[in-house]
Symmetry: C2
Subunit: 420 residues, 2 copies
């Protein structure tokens, strides 16, 4: 097999551990220099390939690459550019292959969610038909935990741990002052289509009566009356109530709760979030003093409290991606397979991309309690192992030492530029 | 000296390390059983004393008390009950002394901010005139960092660390995707009167161009035009802009930015916060894609990433409070005194309560850059040591092990109840 270079790109929303996958890819490729030449990364994801804006990772020291294991966000930049269907935008696919051909790239590692799995598959198919075969491997990543054929997705475990810990800590704060102060605390977390992240907050509860008392899932239609009754009953019983809400919480007709019809003084739609909307509802209907928080990017970038299991799996999947390529595989994704034993175990499996692309794995109904406000023992059993272990970064002067790569450009070879 | 019991209460907003001070008080009292009998804690703060609702901390194991060192929030409950002036509410002060007398309490340890320093002083004075002298010691605590005569306040260092780390992490997230996605990120932090907490976010920046690019302090009048120009210039230069805003940011006339005049569909005032207000301003005037987060209670309860320096000082101040009492002192507060050397050092000093009570220490102007949007080298020099060191709690199954005390009640001795 003639030595070829590899292309690696990060796709979509970044996570606390996507760089751990990059570390797995690059370290494993470096260990196999006879087969894989250099690893080029797309600057800002796949648009870096389209623009022939490649980063030469061989310019980075061993220490810098190792540092990726404990550095959040996307070290090479990411983007949300979704390649359209082959029919709609054949030019982009052809451009990709042209760039890969120019740089002698034989391996395409695409690190992302469902959309990028689809792109990865198409690139593999088209390259074949264009006479420049590529081995295209998808490396899973998404805090949404919604990819099929893998037990879980790297990135999710760390968000889950952050949300569970933050819920416990904030709840202890509220509990200690509820006698005379805040009675209701609302934490808004990510999850537009699936409630996986909100569900993870349920891990904060160990004993009956523990927070969170109410979890709002996008999967469960929101009913204001039932919700307010549950808030009131919880405050009466425990003295306080903690609500964790998925940003995608919605009414039965599919309207998001954040579409509150609220307008500012100039008539613009309110740009506030779900948490203040819920807090306002509670204040005006029940009169309780409230506080609310919106974790937003803090939750998915919180490498300081990443799950060790998540970091380990993210690295292993990057490594496995390269090993799959070395074994001659194409159009596949390494996946996490959970062991069947009582004690949590996992191994790397293999999923064909045509079964991964464009499929969303929703949260099973049996993970949600009958009243729709909590997680079941089965849900807890699934979630708990994913947040296990701490993988602290190094610190200097009280701040985490996250690496900054040089991100040196690969000289361009093509004459024509390409507008994305 | 006849053996007397001690009373300890937590006051005002709780922190990640107020229990470390409690640990210092209780462990030091236990080590001096010949002089100090039992330590009784007020259930939910000073109202516990008024209601004669006392917690017997002697029922807690050594391990449980040690666990307070790494447990956030107020383990005995806290409250925001401010005792009015002696003239206005002499009955409450007299009731306190009556309860103390009934339970043979000779030491009053009050763990809080400026208001509680004032209460502590008054209790000391009145007890003297009522013929039941108490040694009243104030133990400083406030995330607002606004107590005079102490270099810093326990609780602040941990919020500062949380805010600096969260700013860095979220900024890395935004930076990696700004080419095609979010351009402006706004993080709202606590600080209604002083910008100490927002200032701490400045520690996230190590090199020129690093986030946060704009800090909004309550001390600097907000000017929309200058602000938006700075946002735009930053996005043009760096590709993205991170704003950290004190909740107390205000216009020159003293109006809070959150008083945006916004009304919901029912005509109610908008209940959203500062971050969405700023984000909306940026969107409507500059058109940038934005995200925002509101840390709220998450920042002050984040024991998982507490500053080791903060934890150590909180404990030391609790311990010193008891040592001051043992030394016969009264109406004083142990304080942090910063060493004058180049390398950070601190020791415990002593501040008379009449000089502490009802005085707010504002952030020096020289800590804020001339343009009003950042911190100076002097500000950084003051802040940096306070976030140094990590003091991780123990974990079990991926979650921090925070203690839950039994909080057994002390049998009541007084016949009459007291309505707070």
């Amino acid at each position: 097999m003639a030595r070829k270079n590899a292309f690696y790109a990060q796709s979509g929303g970044v996570t606390a551990v996507i760089n751990a996958s990059a570390c797995g890819v690059i370290e494993t490729a470096r260990a196999n220099r006879n087969t894989i030449g250099k690893v080029y990364a797309g600057r800002n994801g796949i648009i870096g390939a389209l623009r022939e804006d490649l980063i030469d990772t061989s310019k980075e020291s061993k220490t810098a690459i190792r540092g990726l294991l404990s550095t959040p966000s996307g070290a090479f930049g990411s983007c949300r550019h979704k390649l359209k269907s082959l029919e709609e935008n054949r030019a982009e696919y052809e451009r990709l292959i042209e760039v890969f051909r120019a740089h002698n790239i034989g391996y395409f590692f695409y690190n992302g969610g469902g959309d990028s799995a689809d792109t990865c598959l198409k690139v593999s198919q088209l390259s074949e038909s264009m006479g420049y075969p590529l081995q295209a491997i998808h490396i899973p990543k998404t805090i949404d935990n919604d990819l099929p054929l893998t037990d879980n997705c790297p990135g999710f475990g760390s968000v889950a741990k952050y949300v569970a810990i933050s819920t416990r800590e904030a709840a202890m704060d509220v509990a200690s002052m509820c006698e005379t102060s805040t009675k209701v605390f609302v934490l808004e977390v990510m999850g537009r289509h699936a409630g996986w992240i909100a569900a993870a907050s349920g891990l904060a509860a160990e004993e009956k009566g523990d927070a969170p008392h109410i979890i709002l899932f996008p999967e469960v239609p929101f009913d204001k009356t039932t919700f307010l009754a549950k808030v009131q009953a919880t405050v009466k019983k425990n003295g306080y109530c903690v609500v964790v809400a998925s940003e995608g919480a919605q009414y039965a007709d599919g309207t998001f709760l954040t579409d509150s019809g609220t307008r500012d003084a100039f008539g613009h739609a309110q740009l506030g979030g779900l948490a203040p909307t819920l807090a306002g509802m509670i204040k005006s209907e029940l009169g309780y003093k409230y506080h609310w928080a919106v974790a937003d990017y803090l939750q998915r970038s919180a490498r300081h409290i990443a799950s060790a299991t998540d970091v380990e799996q993210a690295y292993a999947l990057g490594k496995a991606g390269v090993e799959f390529a070395l074994a001659g595989k194409n159009a596949v994704m390494p996946a996490i397979v959970r062991g069947s034993g009582k004690r949590y175990s996992w191994r790397i499996g293999e999923a064909p991309l045509h079964k991964v692309a464009n499929k969303e794995k929703m949260m099973p109904k049996r993970y949600i309690t009958r009243d729709g406000f909590g997680i079941t023992a089965a849900g807890r059993e699934y979630l708990a192992p994913l947040i296990t272990g701490e993988a602290y970064p190094e610190y200097r002067n009280g701040m985490p030492r996250y690496v900054r790569l040089k991100n040196a450009s690969v000289p361009r070879k093509l004459k024509d530029s390409f507008t994305v």
